[in-house]
Symmetry: C2
Amino acid sequence: MVTRKDVALKAGVSPSTVSRVINNNGYVAFEARKRIEAAIAELNYIPNRAAQNLRTKSYRQIACISPAISNSFFAEMFMGIEEMAIELGYSLSLYNITNRKQNYLKQVLEGPYDGMILLASHELIMIKELLESMQKVPLSIYWDRIEKINIPREAGLPHVYIDLQKVMRQSVEYLIANGHNEILFLGHYYSKERNSNSRYMGYEMAMKEHHLPIKDYYRIFIEMYEDKLSTGYEAIKMLLDKGQHFTAVAASNDLLAAGAIRAIIESGKKVPEDISVIGVDNIELAKIVTPTLTTMNIPKREIGRMLVQQLMDQIHNENTIEQSIEVEVMLKERESVKNLVI
Amino acid sequence: MVTRKDVALKAGVSPSTVSRVINNNGYVAFEARKRIEAAIAELNYIPNRAAQNLRTKSYRQIACISPAISNSFFAEMFMGIEEMAIELGYSLSLYNITNRKQNYLKQVLEGPYDGMILLASHELIMIKELLESMQKVPLSIYWDRIEKINIPREAGLPHVYIDLQKVMRQSVEYLIANGHNEILFLGHYYSKERNSNSRYMGYEMAMKEHHLPIKDYYRIFIEMYEDKLSTGYEAIKMLLDKGQHFTAVAASNDLLAAGAIRAIIESGKKVPEDISVIGVDNIELAKIVTPTLTTMNIPKREIGRMLVQQLMDQIHNENTIEQSIEVEVMLKERESVKNLVI
DNA sequence: AAATAATATGGTTACGTGACCACATTATTT
DNA sequence: AAATAATGTGGTCACGTAACCATATTATTT
């Protein structure tokens, strides 16, 4: 292994001077610098990362704990994270929390990381366990139900979040503004309490504010299974077969919206001419389906970048850490919603 | 920071004995072990990873360089990689090679990794550069056009691959076995030379062997753009509008197949009753579309695991390294192909 | 009972680096 | 010309750990 010493010997200087060149601090004569750089290139010297880490007490690495990265929502968020991290000279380890025995957490905590980013899925228990087992590790969280985290932690719990209720409300209001009044809610089923489902709450608020009735069959809650991706296709299909009437579907994510579109087209109706569909997330799929999907764009990349920034503020002990950053969601208009007003 | 020394002091032993407990080697009295474990728990001691790395000259980390992980094909492969790595006590850094300035490579090479896994995209130039700039870093590659890599490297270039020509041939032969003889090839356009496109070659071989004609409009090559995901939707749509006849589409990947299905359904025909469609890859999308997509299953998770195994063989200096591992691809039957024979 | 083996423990050392200090040498100011 | 500042360089040390060796104690064999 080539070490700093070898470079120093070859360049005819002391190891200290080599360090000065590598870290670009202190005084180094022009000639000496040239010799050292030549020696580094010739010997193909790469500073030993372990020694640097030990000496500087920093790893220049962060860990990201995420639900299955095959979920493109998190994949896109991860890309924002990685991009920002690289820009700041950090690299990124990725841990997928899926069906894994719990003790993987130990491995993460013992790992060579300066901080952690957590993309939370719905397993609150896991998050709780996670937070309890670590003390003062710099941590930033993305979770769309952040209000549910209720764990005391001296330093607080910095997070970046979106207000899903608000998002869903905007989505439904957009449909209403376009003249729709028979609007279906198509969402996932999280718990028995309907009012714990912030997405549904957003839908309900928008409907009530505009004095629109919510018929029973307007409310479609799809069960979530571990492995099976349910798209709501069957549910919408069944509704249409029964001849139920509605002019628009407000889906709580794009996958459900895509399922709805397929069901509608297959039953001989047209999107958006007969029925409009709107989603939430703006994943790649939204650009691929036909018609392309109008949806609420969650700026995943941007959220990823913000998480890194927030984490760095903690690592570098900035005293102006924003504990709670809300990200605004904007409508992305495409083809799947028809304006009935004009 | 709590160090081994603190634990030793608390437990009334020497640091050496603490190390023996942590690494679980050498003799330790039962009583002493108990005291040490208690001290570790009480002090919340975590061994300093940097010091361990420096002392053992290993990082217990590997880097994975991949095209955009938002591509679910690579995401699923990554999940196999990560799963296997974790099982073996390694963690994984992920680098996305997308539109990034070239010098990110330096960062990877200077990183704390025992080895690297490369999921190759189509940028041969990048791979070349990569391989030239590193010497004896343990490395395993997934690339479906591995035969094109032609860079001398003392230790060879261990890789896991699939024979795309064979895969496409199997795919077309399955259609033929189901009574189809007017089969469209729907693939991407890689270079001017048609015979450098191994997927097309597989299609051509199958057709010729069964003495089936390949009409001009059977050959559809879609351009690949950096950002725009093209699905072949427009191409198939145009073909159908012209009234061209065919009974099946053999797409070179699932995304193209999904695009074909949408185009067919939209023009009023049914899949698979009127036209059958088969894909390659078996990404999540294949289970989501309607009808569900029959496709050639590329065992992405398994490939990921094999890459890690192959890398570990290099890291641990196994002398029985399989340089070139071909992975067999199997048909995954779903709903999008109709049997015309029965 | 003596010799050997197994068990148990502490001390020393080196891994490769960055920070710091001491000390030259040269350039600039008084 | 003397005093001060800026520039340049090497030596020492410690970061926290795992491997090794030496040695003490206990258990087993001869």
